[in-house]
């Protein structure tokens, strides 16, 4: 270690009302390293980094960057000192072009924008240098999430930085995109930049970092060199207890067919065919996984099954009853639970309380309501029970769900859907935004449901999630089911090829 660290954070404290987000954090980042910040949701990683990049001002403590004590009042000042951050929620204006987003807020307000060609050229140059594939004239809202993230990273590079902070960048990426991002981080370090990588994914952190700092409850509890630790030890540091990486499951054979999908076709919102003749069965007591690179029709499949997208052809039977093309309310009432991919759009109403969110589908049913009046006492009790059982971190059941962290919102959605005692559970991205401690718990809950004879269809882009709990894995590509594999990690290559659309593999299991 050199005498003067590149970035030194000394005893930073920050509270938001009654919540202590940073409880005396100290951390040192060396020049030219990839330093991972690992921790569960709510451990204070993002807040800490927001203070370094000028988004949030610390209440106490000191930030020393390149030997100089800094107190940034805005992200602009941080960028001037060559510190840039890529946020979890992108700071891109959706209806502007990439280049317009880059010049946003730059220079005098009265300047007439006439040198966009130069900006475009500069973007192309940087994009080529780091193989980012960013088109300067593209409109942000036309880009996929992965592309938008590359646009964000390039934006920070465009402004010129020495320290790049990436906040949970892989949460929204496919495995391929993740690989690409991790490689990019290596390239940036080769170019003399320093990277802080915020994540709660152990494998990624182990793959890419030089050093890892683990945060818990607003403090850095450990900083270790990557060579001196392993995933299990890191998980222990994060959660403060041992985490089981392999989940036990009962060997019971599956029972009757609960969900049967025959030749289902539907179109995406854009009008293009998205699901092209999907047939599958899910039996009671089994978890069937659907793997695939995102954008291969998984979203539309789950929306069509749950009644949120019109069905063009085919049939969906649930416990022998035809539910094809019914409206969501009637599908919901047919013992069908749905843990949606887009929580904010289909899972919760952010401005309503936890209580109100837990009864979204059942607000007019007993015991939550009688004679047209809500029974607040019963609803409150029910919600408190779910909060306790699923360890949802919240003040009380009357708090707006939008003010919880993503992981805690997801836990409440899972809790609500399981509490309805469904025959069939459709899950799209089970662990989205959930940290490792909660993930283990949620997966165990899923396995419990399986052992209780529920039929579960788990659509996921996280292969680990699929391997951990599925009984068999279907691979979806271009709107079709290309093949099926057992959840066997040794056959990862086969799975990868199927995900890339290659079916000429002889080893396909029928």
């Amino acid at each position: 270690m050199s005498q003067k660290p590149f970035l030194r954070i000394d005893n930073i404290r920050k509270r938001f009302g009654p919540i202590v987000a940073s409880d005396g954090v100290s951390l040192e980042i060396e020049e030219g390293e990839i330093h991972s910040l690992l921790g569960e949701n709510g451990a204070g990683k993002s807040v800490l980094m927001s203070m370094i990049c000028g988004m949030v001002r610390p209440d106490e403590g000191e930030i020393v960057f390149k030997g100089q004590s800094e107190r940034f009042n805005s992200p602009r000042e941080a960028i001037r000192q060559r510190i840039g951050m890529v946020h979890q929620h992108f700071m891109l204006v959706p209806n502007l072009t990439v280049a317009e987003n880059y010049v946003l807020g730059q220079g005098s307000a009265l300047r007439i924008i006439n040198d966009m060609d130069k900006v475009h050229a500069r973007i192309r140059e940087l994009s080529d240098r780091y193989a980012l594939d960013v088109r300067p004239g593209a409109i942000i809202e036309d880009l996929s999430v992965g592309e938008q993230q590359r646009v964000e990273i390039l934006k920070v590079l465009f402004h010129g930085i020495d320290l790049l902070i990436l906040d949970e960048p892989t949460a929204v990426l496919t495995p391929q995109e993740t690989d690409r991002l991790l490689a990019l981080m290596g390239d940036l370090v080769k170019d003399g930049k320093t990277v802080v990588f915020i994540s709660h994914k152990l494998d990624e952190v182990m793959r890419v970092s030089n050093r890892i700092s683990v945060m818990r409850d607003g403090r850095v509890v450990h900083t270790v060199n990557v060579g001196e630790t392993n995933a299990r030890a890191l998980a222990h540091m994060m959660v403060g207890r041992d985490v089981r990486m392999e989940l036990p499951r009962s060997p019971e054979p599956p029972g009757r067919v609960v969900l049967s999908v025959e030749n289902l076709t539907c179109r995406a919102e854009t009008g293009l065919p998205a699901v092209r003749g999907v047939s599958l069965n899910v039996r009671s007591g089994e978890i069937v996984g659907i793997a695939g690179v995102s954008g291969n029709g998984q979203t539309e499949l789950s929306l069509a099954l749950s009644g949120l997208l019109p069905v063009d052809g085919g049939r969906v039977m649930l416990s022998g009853k035809d539910i094809t093309g019914l409206d969501p309310a009637r599908i919901n009432a047919s013992s069908f639970s749905h843990i949606p991919e887009d929580r904010h759009k289909h899972g919760i109403v952010a401005s309503l309380s936890l209580s109100e969110n837990t009864i979204l589908q059942r607000y007019d049913q007993k015991p939550f309501a009688s004679r047209g009046m809500l029974n607040r006492r019963v609803i409150g009790e029910h919600t408190r029970d779910l909060i306790k059982r699923f360890r949802v971190k919240s003040r009380d059941e009357d708090q707006a769900i939008g003010s919880l962290s993503g992981g805690n919102q997801q836990k409440l959605v899972v809790a609500r859907e399981l509490a309805r005692n469904p025959d069939f559970i459709l899950v799209n991205q089970l662990a989205r935004g959930i940290d490792i401690g909660a993930m283990e718990f949620v997966m165990e809950e899923m396995l419990k449901q399986r052992d209780n004879g529920r039929a579960i269809l788990l659509i996921s882009t996280e292969l680990e999630e699929l391997f951990a709990i599925c009984d068999r894995i279907l691979v979806m590509f271009h709107g079709e089911i290309l093949g099926e594999l057992p959840p066997d990690r040794t056959r990862l290559d086969e799975l990868g090829l199927l995900m890339a659309g290659q079916t000429e593999q002889p080893a396909l299991v029928g």
């Binding site: 949030v56 929620h89 891109l92 209806n95 502007l96 987003n101 307000a109």
Partner: protein
């Protein structure tokens, strides 16, 4: 009607349409700025009334139309400052504040007018038409487009200028971003509140100008409620125009056409439709516009939402 008469009718109609569209053009372009920055100012009716009154009062006192126009702009902006303070600084609901300002504008102008001017019964000198050499002599077209007063001509300039500012300057880019993703602007180091104040000032200044035109370029009097709902029609114009200044110019012209049509048809004795139906034409069009274009994208995504920095 023979052909010549019909052509004359059309020329008169077109000229009147532009004149009647002028207050709408100013106010709707202003509102485009405001809404592009995410601020929905439904208080335009009140703001235009204040502009109309201030313009009238200043011209009454000085006899000068330009000073009257400036007073109209200033009055509108002062009223806008009130709106901006409550909605941006205090973060009150934009609809509620807008509605309150409409009532304030109506009451205040009526009160002041009755107190100081109604007994005088005098009108003011208004802007006179300027005949553009040669062009105004073109048959029919000259009558329609080149015998207007300077305020009417200036609408073209304002529309072009507004479009350039909004789409070709750094200010315009940031302003549009403020309405879509204010946090991105905040992160880029610009003051979101300042931009919203700016947008509201542009908006209410132009609304004040639109109001002042009613007393200084059209009628020569202030009348209580002289705007007769134009501030609300402007809101529909902006939706119809898809939040574009050039679009606002042309959509305003269309609404101007309805105003002109109902005025001229009323004068035609041969029309048997009751004149009230004709009078309702612009308003009916407003409702149809809003219903037909309801929910069709293009609206700034943070329209009407206060911005909370954390």
């Amino acid at each position: 009607m023979d052909d010549m008469m019909f052509l004359t009718f059309l020329a008169t109609l077109a000229g009147a349409a532009w004149r009647l569209a002028t207050p709408l053009i100013f106010a709707s372009i202003g509102e485009v700025f405001s809404e592009r920055a995410g601020v929905l100012n439904i208080g335009l009716e009140g703001t235009m009334l204040v502009g109309a009154f201030c313009g009238f009062a200043a011209a009454f006192a000085t006899g000068s139309v330009p000073l009257g126009l400036l007073a109209g702009i200033a009055g509108g902006m002062l009223f806008g400052l009130l709106f901006a303070f409550f909605t941006i600084t205090i973060k009150a609901d934009q609809i509620v504040v807008g509605a309150a300002l409409n009532l304030l504008g109506m009451g205040l102008t009526a009160f002041l007018f009755r107190t100081y001017y109604v007994s005088t019964g005098k009108g003011i000198e208004i802007a006179q038409p300027v005949h553009i050499p040669f062009l105004s002599d073109i048959p029919f077209l000259g009558e329609a487009f080149f015998r207007q007063n300077l305020i009417v001509y200036s609408t073209v300039l304002v529309a072009i200028l507004a479009s350039l500012v909004l789409f070709r300057t750094s200010f315009g880019l940031t302003l549009r971003a403020v309405g879509e993703h204010p946090k991105a602007v905040d992160v880029a180091g610009r003051n979101v509140a300042a931009y919203r104040y700016g947008a509201v000032m542009v908006g209410t200044g132009l609304a004040g100008l639109g109001g002042a035109f009613l007393t200084l370029g059209h009628s020569n009097q202030f009348v209580e409620g002289i705007t007769s709902g134009r501030g609300f029609i402007v809101l529909a114009v902006v939706v119809f125009a898809r939040w574009s200044p050039i679009g606002a110019f042309f959509v305003s012209l269309l609404f101007g056409l309805f105003y002109a049509l109902q005025l001229m048809l009323q004068a035609q004795a041969s029309i048997i439709v009751p004149y009230q139906v004709l009078q309702a034409l612009p308003y009916i069009m407003t409702i149809i516009t809003l219903v037909v274009l309801r929910g069709k994208g293009a609206a700034p995504s943070k329209l009407g939402q206060p911005y909370e920095m954390r």
